[in-house]
Symmetry: D2
Subunit: 313 residues, 4 copies
């Protein structure tokens, strides 16, 4: 909540430092998808030390496709609401950076000013298509062009702790582990703070091979949406640094909304619904309403809003 940020326990480090620490810590860390201020706060309250602002979830919440239908400033505005509502770092799923190296520079500057701790960019072309849709038919970015983009982004950041994570789509696009490793290494050398190695196979095998051969020059990040049944200890053993649970918050909300809305539609009554959903008071709490009530006493006098008398000459 914007105005009560100071009132809450603030960590003694910046959000950017907190994200960097998550990436560079010795243990496996986890961040969780959110797609607006409300879900971001819920993720934080659950205990997560970081938030994944998922491109899929953001676009789904808007009601558009994960194909850059929403503009990058519409995404920026939403991720700003998310950063305002929380104290833990946010890593934005920044697709391709929404254009070339210059668009990424601009994005990095804007994310920093909004309190977003890092951005993940993927080696595909603008406008993007979600990796799980015909992934194997999607062209990849030229390595040199993508490395230039990473260098530009790193040069543009003002805060040295701001993180740029390079997402390697080679496995999804049907290329070999060799190609993925070559790209990952190039991206790391261009300045990437971490490598997100992505796959859509139902098994961890290819990423396991990738991790086995990775030289450890920067942390590895994974998104186990498709290989969700792989035990987490396998990720630990493979030396993964950060796991992103990438879309389960919005997916949980969809099921609940579909069920509740259907029930109300069919029964034409709230009977049987009220006790199954969060009370209105919980919504108020999540919005940070108590802080505003306190502030009204402090700044608007005992009579609160009612004091708005006016004087006329």
């Amino acid at each position: 909540m914007l105005a009560d940020i100071k009132a809450r326990t603030t960590p003694n480090k910046t959000k950017t430092r907190a994200l960097r620490d998550l990436l560079e810590s010795n243990r496996l860390e986890f961040i969780m998808e959110a797609h607006n201020g409300l879900s971001a706060r819920i993720v934080e309250e659950a205990g997560f030390a970081g938030i994944w602002a998922s491109g899929l979830a953001l676009s789904a919440a808007f009601g558009v496709r994960d194909s850059n239908e929403a503009s990058w400033t519409q995404v920026l505005e939403t991720v700003e609401f998310m950063a305002d509502a929380t104290d833990v770092p946010i890593l934005l799923d920044g697709d391709t950076g929404y254009g070339n190296f210059n668009n990424l520079r601009r994005l990095v500057n804007k994310l920093e000013s909004r309190g977003v701790a890092g951005v993940c960019i993927e080696d595909k072309l603008f406008p993007k298509t979600n990796s799980f849709i015909d992934g194997e038919r999607q062209p990849l970015a030229d390595v040199d062009e993508f490395c230039g983009k990473i260098r530009a982004g790193k040069d543009a950041q003002a805060d040295p702790d701001f993180c740029i994570v390079a997402r390697v789509e080679a496995l999804i696009a049907g290329w070999s582990v060799d190609e993925a490793l070559e790209r990952a290494k190039a991206y790391q050398q261009a300045g990437a703070d971490a490598i997100l190695i992505h796959d859509k196979a139902p098994r961890f095998d290819n990423i396991q091979k990738f991790a086995d051969r990775w030289d450890g020059s920067c942390p590895l990040v994974i998104v186990p949406t498709k290989y969700y049944s792989t035990p987490t200890d396998v990720f630990r053993a493979a030396g993964i640094s950060l796991v992103i649970w990438a879309n389960h918050t919005v997916r949980a909300s969809v099921t609940a909304m579909q069920n509740t809305v259907a029930r109300i539609y069919q029964n034409e009554t709230l009977t049987g619904v009220e006790d199954r959903i969060a009370p209105v008071s919980e919504i108020f709490r999540l919005q940070g309403d108590p802080e505003l009530r306190e502030a009204e006493k402090r700044y608007a006098g005992d009579a609160g809003a009612a004091t708005r008398a006016i004087v006329l000459a």
Copy 2:
């Protein structure tokens, strides 16, 4: 979904006409809260003939208070995403109109251009506070000023079917049914297409009294958030035209997100989660992805995105 609106079965009437018909039909109708494009589509798919773009739910989704913290253009942008994602009419909870008569004129013009079918304005002051928070201490708008606002809004609309619903806050602010009736009549005479008579009591008694004495000169709308246990047939018998289920979609989503996120946090795995939430394919479907896949074939050639070769002079 913006681009496939034509592909879906389109009603033979405008959204504004559809909202007007809901208000003026002889039977009790229902509309349901949504707060973004995704929830709007879910509400439509459940069968609801209209959507309530709730100020509380919109602000909660943003992660801010229901006190005009988000700007009116931020609300406008979200409700545009909602209108793009659906074919049923949307009634926007427009708070006080975000200022005076002139701000409302501007809002009405903008809502029309975004395909929003109507707006509900309440007789309070900008910036508003949610009616369920210290409602009795909140000042009401001057009747003449509010009537001028209604007249200005009605004069501003280009489409004669666009609806302006006037929300009477007198009961919530601790005034009598007499005061509520007097205000409602004034608002109707100023041009309001319907009266939303609101209350925060756990019982329907005061609204019942109001409805008994209402002259029927325009439809009545209610929001049974607090008196949710009142049987729906009581509303029918009272001659109510439209019931708004005002915040249950977002409340359902909160509970589900809290539960799922907590479970994933505690277990550090997706095991046991995947089957309880919507699959990724369902998200794609809700986003209208199939239409885009078809369009790619139509407009981007057989090779789809892969054809993006370039020529150089």
Copy 3:
């Protein structure tokens, strides 16, 4: 001015029809650059029957490069202010359509809802670079891909009179008149309502050759920024339909602002300035202030703003 659009003499045709008529009329027509609501109104008041929302001027006004640094929704918001402030049609310089065919579809839908009459798209790649900067080194779009984009845009428009102008960059990129003609014909067959044939040479020669060989299947549009000394009758004789004076409004404003600001800075006084610049009252007039004063009487009572008394329960 949004609110007084009705008060002014409204043409008996839509803005889209008015733009189409400009393109299809038998005589040479002219439209003039504007970059915000203020300059748009000035262009209209001068007598111009249409407005060119120039990408260069828009980006310059923002203070960014003509390289898609501003997002497409930021452009959209500005062009909406322009459309609200005027009654003549606006043709947006839409760069490449800000992405692929799908982005253009979305843009067309949004432009229609904002009252913009047409869009011009150029056969380059996103993100664009201004054609006058290293034009010969800029790659062109693939013809089939660009034709698919045109078809998608045309299929997306709801109003049959909305115009899509296809801008041929072949001459600027160093290709032959043959290549330009081939592209132009392909774009026209894909559905383009007009062809903008662009050149950066200081002479009209190449466009003359192009026009001589054009089959007349759709109107030709030119932008004589570089060959400005060519007499206008030459354009007429060449059968050009529409001339765009593409950036002279913003350029005039720059010189005036630089001179006036320098004078005030050096002299530390307004003496000698007041009489050379528009009075404040002229700014008020351009903003449409008189309409608001009238509206206050109509909607806010004799006492105007001063009546905002409040009542408390």
Copy 4:
């Protein structure tokens, strides 16, 4: 220009500190109106040490009235473009703070994140009307309410150098110098960093009286739009700290645009225009284009944009 901020000579102090120094220096300082990124850069280049983001000029540029027709986030977005385009501090004319104390808190946080150095708020009611329009009929804010707003704004700022200037409208609204002094003192005690004492009389007399009796507890700021013929040394002698030339940039642009556009319209040619207006290359320079050309070499390889080859699996 966002991306080359580092390349230019950066002052060794923050923008907020620079604005505070302007207010607190021992000599009379001057800041100049700008209304978008382009005019902001022109003001900076002329030598001005600060920029006034005028509410009148911003709304005029949008093409709307100075009556809060543009939303506060639309204003915020424009002032962000201005801050990105310049290195000198910007003082935003924040009207009434766009609502109550809570809206101001939010505004202050957002301005800080956008690199705006301070905000000036006036003791009127939302939505505002320009002070030069029926100023004497406009109601003033309640003193306690306005002081609460100032305190809230000061408590909300993260950077101790961010400035809140309190604008006293008492003289414009027809009140006495006594009332103006009483209000000014109350606002200063509530935390205002400076007092803007405004008047619409053609003579400096009342402000002179005000300044004579001011206790010097904080700097005084004036806006000599109406009493422009008063010699600047009179302001110095009166102990004024900062003069705002509040709307002359936009007014200069209007005259120039009207003249140039009329000439082109009437003559149907650019002959005689080209030499009187800034060349296209000057527009490119103001946009910061050279930096982008350099960056392309650095990040996009020798072949620049042309290297965008793609690889397919």
